[in-house]
């Protein structure tokens, strides 16, 4: 049942393609000498629950989907848009978008990829019968009728997406969205092969059934152990694909994975063991990498009724924030190039200008002195101590940061009770505001500042601290239709900082080790989207 290979015919095709790649000894563009072995292996932290584009809900499956499927648009190494199945796209009013599909796009069984495939796949993502956890992404993209379709009020055929002909797709949004093309890069909007889905049901992603339209096809999968991809000969860009085999190994334990990486068992791993980065960087500078990643790490402060009453006072929240020496956290705990954060939006977000936050310019001594003063003004301090319940989900890094911060808060007379929960409990506890302070992080769904700032509007379901400010709501609503929303974003960041709506801690980096013979890795892609079709292995010198 497990390791069924693909149909014999496609295996033969694969071999044929493999041999042409072998004949190629230098890279067609750069002229570098290519290694004879053009396989790529990497490590996954956990088994991905699904590789069905409409059902994927986490990173590991997303990485595989980017190799197997190709959406309308994809990304260049620097994260800018690049034509995928769509050759060109346009909109007059940012509300109705037209995508023109390329003629030579094919599924791995030879069928052409049509506009109807996209219509059916997007409808499938929103359809209640599919029960996709990522249906909300369709809603986020503002496609008209998406909310009603998801709620089952109207049928999926009412979704604002239609095929004008086989090669023209028209999308209608409920309001103008200048960054809609960026959103089509996401896996939820990748096409799935409808005849296969209808024939095999949930089993359509099994190696013997799956039909995909990306650069690779699924060859073999063993749950919790590994999976293997081989090139898709029907892919329109197949000639430029150099890597002949992709293997992912599921290794839960990070230290164990690192040992195996050092033993040369695979080429790439992220989710490095806590605290190992400085050593790796010192020992293997050409292997260890730290690049910006579009996520912000912050502490949500519960400002609702259920939180500690002191936390409703902005002075207390500010004091707590000021006491945190972010440089200790980035330079002494994490030590992997993370940037200390004083605002919410990640500094590397496309088109975003960093706001000037006042306390960011102070020295830590000044911040601490000010914190003590604020705390006294608010009527708290060592003689009127407060006890805070700090929750975090299971992870070595979260544990260490929480421990360090609880020590930093001590001089304010704040006792912190650390409560570690595993992920699912943590989500429920955080979602129900059963905390005073909650470790949180937010990763951009697309490369634009609103993906962060929308979170702190009062009716956002992920606003776990229940921060509410009418001015923030107004500015964010206004920004959607603005030609240049930056002034509003700056204003929102200033308000967040004055109110200390959340306690920003640091801006992420993506830390990973990569075999130095692997080239053209997208180091500048802040969303950590990588496409194996672009990378290659050079011969060791």
């Amino acid at each position: 049942m497990t390791r069924l290979s693909l149909l014999t015919t496609s295996t033969i095709l694969t071999f044929a393609l493999g041999s042409t790649a072998w004949a190629q000894t230098t890279h067609p563009v750069t002229g570098e000498t290519l290694a004879e072995d053009q396989t790529f292996q990497y490590r996954l932290l956990d088994q991905f629950p699904s590789i069905d584009p409409q059902l994927i809900e986490e990173t590991a499956g997303g990485h595989v989907a980017r190799q197997l499927f190709e959406g309308l648009l994809t990304q260049n190494a620097d994260g800018t848009l690049r034509p995928g199945v769509a050759e060109s796209w346009s909109s007059e009013d940012n509300q109705t978008w037209v995508f023109n599909l390329r003629e030579d796009a094919r599924w791995s069984n030879g069928d052409p990829v049509t506009a109807q495939d996209f219509v059916a796949s997007w409808q499938r993502a929103a359809d209640p019968a599919t029960a996709s956890e990522y249906a909300w992404y369709v809603e986020l993209s503002q496609i008209s009728n998406s909310a009603a379709v998801i709620a089952g009020e109207v049928g999926p055929e009412e979704l604002g997406v239609r095929a004008i002909d086989d090669r023209t797709l028209e999308v209608t949004l409920s309001q103008p969205l200048p960054y809609f093309p960026q959103m089509t890069v996401h896996y939820t909007f990748m096409p799935s092969h409808q005849p296969s889905v209808q024939e095999h049901g949930a089993a359509w992603t099994a190696p013997e059934n799956i039909v995909s339209n990306g650069a690779y096809m699924l060859d073999e999968i063993a749950v919790n152990e590994f999976f293997r991809l081989v090139p898709n000969p029907e892919y329109w860009g197949a000639e430029d694909v150099i890597i002949t085999e992709v293997t992912g190994f599921v290794i839960n334990d990070a230290s164990q994975a690192l040992t195996r990486f050092q033993a040369g068992e695979f080429d790439m791993m992220d989710d490095l063991p806590a605290g190992s980065y400085p050593r790796l960087e010192a020992e293997m500078p050409d292997v260890a990498h730290s690049v910006p990643r579009l996520c912000s790490y912050y502490y949500a402060v519960n400002q609702s009724e259920s939180g500690h009453e002191a936390l409703q006072d902005p002075r207390v929240r500010t004091a707590l924030s000021l006491m945190i020496d972010r440089e200790v956290i980035t330079d002494q705990v994490l030590q992997a190039g993370q940037a200390p954060a004083f605002n919410f939006t990640h500094w590397a977000t496309a088109g975003f200008e960093m706001p000037e936050i006042e306390y960011a310019t102070w020295t830590q001594e000044e911040r601490m002195a000010h914190a003590v003063q604020l705390m006294t003004e608010a009527g708290y301090g060592p003689d009127n101590p407060i006890e805070l319940n700090l929750i975090y989900n299971t992870s070595e890094n979260h544990r260490q940061i929480a421990t360090v911060i609880s020590q930093m808060w001590r001089p304010l007379g704040v006792t912190t009770v650390l409560n570690n929960f595993e992920w699912q409990s943590y989500l429920e506890i955080r979602g129900n505001q059963n905390f005073d302070v909650a470790r949180s992080a937010w990763c951009g769904d697309y490369n634009e500042a609103s993906t962060f700032l929308d979170l702190l509007t009062s009716n956002n379901s992920n606003n776990d601290g229940k921060y509410a400010n009418d001015e923030v709501d107004r500015l964010m609503a206004e920004s959607v239709t603005m030609a240049d929303p930056q002034p509003n974003y700056t204003a929102v960041e200033q308000i967040l900082s004055e109110d200390m709506a959340i306690i920003p801690i640091y801006h992420y980096t993506q830390n990973f080790v990569l075999d130095p013979t692997i080239r053209n890795w997208p180091m500048e892609n802040v969303e950590n989207n990588w496409y194996v079709r672009d990378i290659y292995r050079v011969a060791a010198e």
């Binding site: 049942m1 497990t2 390791r3 956990d46 088994q47 629950p49 699904s50 590789i51 069905d52 059902l55 809900e57 986490e58 209640p128 019968a129 599919t130 029960a131 996709s132 956890e133 249906a135 909300w136 809603e139 909310a147 998801i150 709620a151 089952g152 949930a202 089993a203 992603t205 099994a206 063993a222 749950v223 919790n224 152990e225 590994f226 190994f249 599921v250 290794i251 839960n252 334990d253 230290s255 164990q256 040992t259 195996r260 050092q262 033993a263 068992e265 595993e422 992920w423 699912q424 409990s425 943590y426 989500l427 429920e428 506890i429 979602g431 379901s461 992920n462």
Partner: protein, 307 residues
Amino acid sequence: MFTFIFKRLLIAIPVLLILIVGTFILMYAAPGSPFATERGVPPAVLANLERQYGLDQPFYVQIWRYIWGIVSDFDFGPSFIYRDQDVNDLIAQGFPVTLTYGFWSFVVAVLVGGTLGIIAAIRHNTWLDYLAVGISIGAQVLPNFVLAPILVLIFTLWLGWLPGGGWQGGQWQYVILPVIALSTSFMASIARIARASMLEVLTSNFIRTARAKGLPMRRIVLRHALKPALLPVISYLGPAFVGMITGSVVIDIYFSTGGIGQFFVASALNRDYGVMMGITVLLGALTIFFNLVVDILYAWIDPKIRY
């Protein structure tokens, strides 16, 4: 004998039922949902998911459906997390792996542990005895979550002899490290038990008589002492096998062998109700089965016991 086996199998049914209902209740009491994600699933989406998995039904309907699915089709239902597979698939993939390295660990533990224990008993109070006792207590107290990374460090990183993990259909080089890591503590326990019971047998009257008659030691041990001395070892085998299945959590985490052990913790943490129930039933059935096998073995070796 057969009525005994029949009776025991009959008891298994209510035990498994209690287990299923109990786990169901625990599951319901657990905070958190299998569908929760960082992005806060909207209520409409959540309702769709719950309908798809039958979570919108009353409690008793869900239990009844679950049990009926097992009884009528041997269908353990869908996994709530792995949406491309159902529970039967997942267990069918993982269980043979667990069983394979579990079986070899068992063989190694019994053979090495038994031999070590018996030799120690025969050479009682010599350096060999002390060495064997020292090794076995040492092996018993060294947690396998410490042993496993050390093994990989030595055999994979430094010596480069064996792969640090994976299974690849159970090729021998992938099996060795998991078997060492899993069998060590059981081997130690078996050695200690075997030593103690062998010592007891060797001081018993019938062995003394045999010795007095001048029979050679080898013959005494093999022909007379071995069988009674193995009785306590055998009663340990049932729990040992179940313990090995439980211990496979560590093996699957460290060696990414893809066995079912990984699910013990992961299914509970992810609230994968389907896999969680499947694993509970499987482990319960295994426990009952091995306890039964041990009782039968016991009766076979010890003629005093009659069922």
